[in-house]
């Protein structure tokens, strides 16, 4: 399958889990990125944050670390932590396809973030499994009765470039 549909129901569930994680840990941003660099959902103040760039760099970081793990004979390093003078970044894998990143400062502790992120990752893994099942079953793949590309014409594409 060459696309991922974020159905409204699951999307809301994902957002809620992220929002709870952010609140419980008093962190700044909680973000989910697909391993290919695609940002999926986030909670927190994203003004002035370029989510695409953040997503691609987080995914690049994870990919490079996975390469390192393989070189060292490890299957993976499922948890990563970057400590800065003001901001810290905690990264956990959600299954083998998605990444949970939490950005936090001194208002909270690494221990709390680590514990809550681990629990959130387990919950998120279940939601993503459900989403994949639904994508296999759903005939109307968007589940909304609408398909933005259904009557796509060359003219529509030309308009994008005017």
């Amino acid at each position: 399958m060459s696309f991922l549909v974020l159905y409204s129901e699951e999307y809301e569930e994902i957002k809620n889990i992220l929002m709870n994680l952010k609140q419980e840990t008093n962190s700044r941003i909680a973000l989910i990125v697909e391993k290919n660099g695609q940002p999926i959902a986030f909670a927190g103040e994203m003004d002035g944050v370029d989510t695409t760039s953040l997503g691609s760099l987080v995914a690049g970081n994870v990919a490079a670390t996975e390469g390192l793990a393989r070189m060292l004979g490890e299957k993976s390093f499922p948890l990563m932590f970057n400590e800065g003078s003001r901001e810290n970044l905690h990264i956990t894998m959600i299954g083998d396809r998605f990444i949970l990143a939490v950005l936090f400062d001194k208002k909270t502790s690494l221990g709390l973030v680590r514990l809550r992120a681990k629990n959130a990752a387990l919950k998120l893994e279940r939601v993503f499994s459900k989403l994949e099942e639904k994508m296999k079953k759903e005939k109307d793949k968007l589940g909304t009765g609408e398909n933005p590309l259904e009557d796509l014409s060359e003219e529509d594409i030309d308009k994008l470039f005017k």
């Binding site: 991922l4 409204s8 290919n36 660099g37 695609q38 760039s53 390469g67 968007l142 590309l149």
Partner: protein, 196 residues
Amino acid sequence: MAMINPRQKELIAKIVYYGPGLGGKTTNLKYIFDHTSPSSRGELVTLNTQGDRTLFFDVLPLNLGTIKGYKIRFQLYTVPGQVFYSESRKIILRGVDGIVFVADSQRERMDANIESIEDLQENLRQYNYSFATMPYVLQLNKRDLPTAVPADEMKKALVIKGEPVVEAIAIRGVGVMETLKEIAKQVLIHLKKEFR
């Protein structure tokens, strides 16, 4: 892998600019960045070595506009062209929806072009992605250089599956937007088929 979010009404796809080192992949992205209004694009992130060679990747988020109320967003990536960065190139191809191959027209780079196309096909195979059905555009870059190989000769050597070919001088912007439009068209038409 494109993502569709009916709640947010957006469709996001990933395009990768592939090709040999110093062929002009980053130059394509820089031109698009410089000639698109800031409201239609994000920051151009580049991970370079000191010598201004791409170390890991460049990425540029671009908002193309809307189709039926859906925001169409593309993320443009480049790969590091240098031969020894093979692992990085493979990582960046993950989830790709369309590929632009930026070939260097200089005669002395023809072997590098061919080697890079073979590397691309091998990397796609490792992900079980079908090159035959992958949206793909060939850009012949650096057409202004005195040692440029005639376009017909390049096509004979590099065209693989009847893909569209765009002649370009990326540093001056010639052919850059045309290439982007061509790959965007192919990706959207491909996704339309996937939805059926």
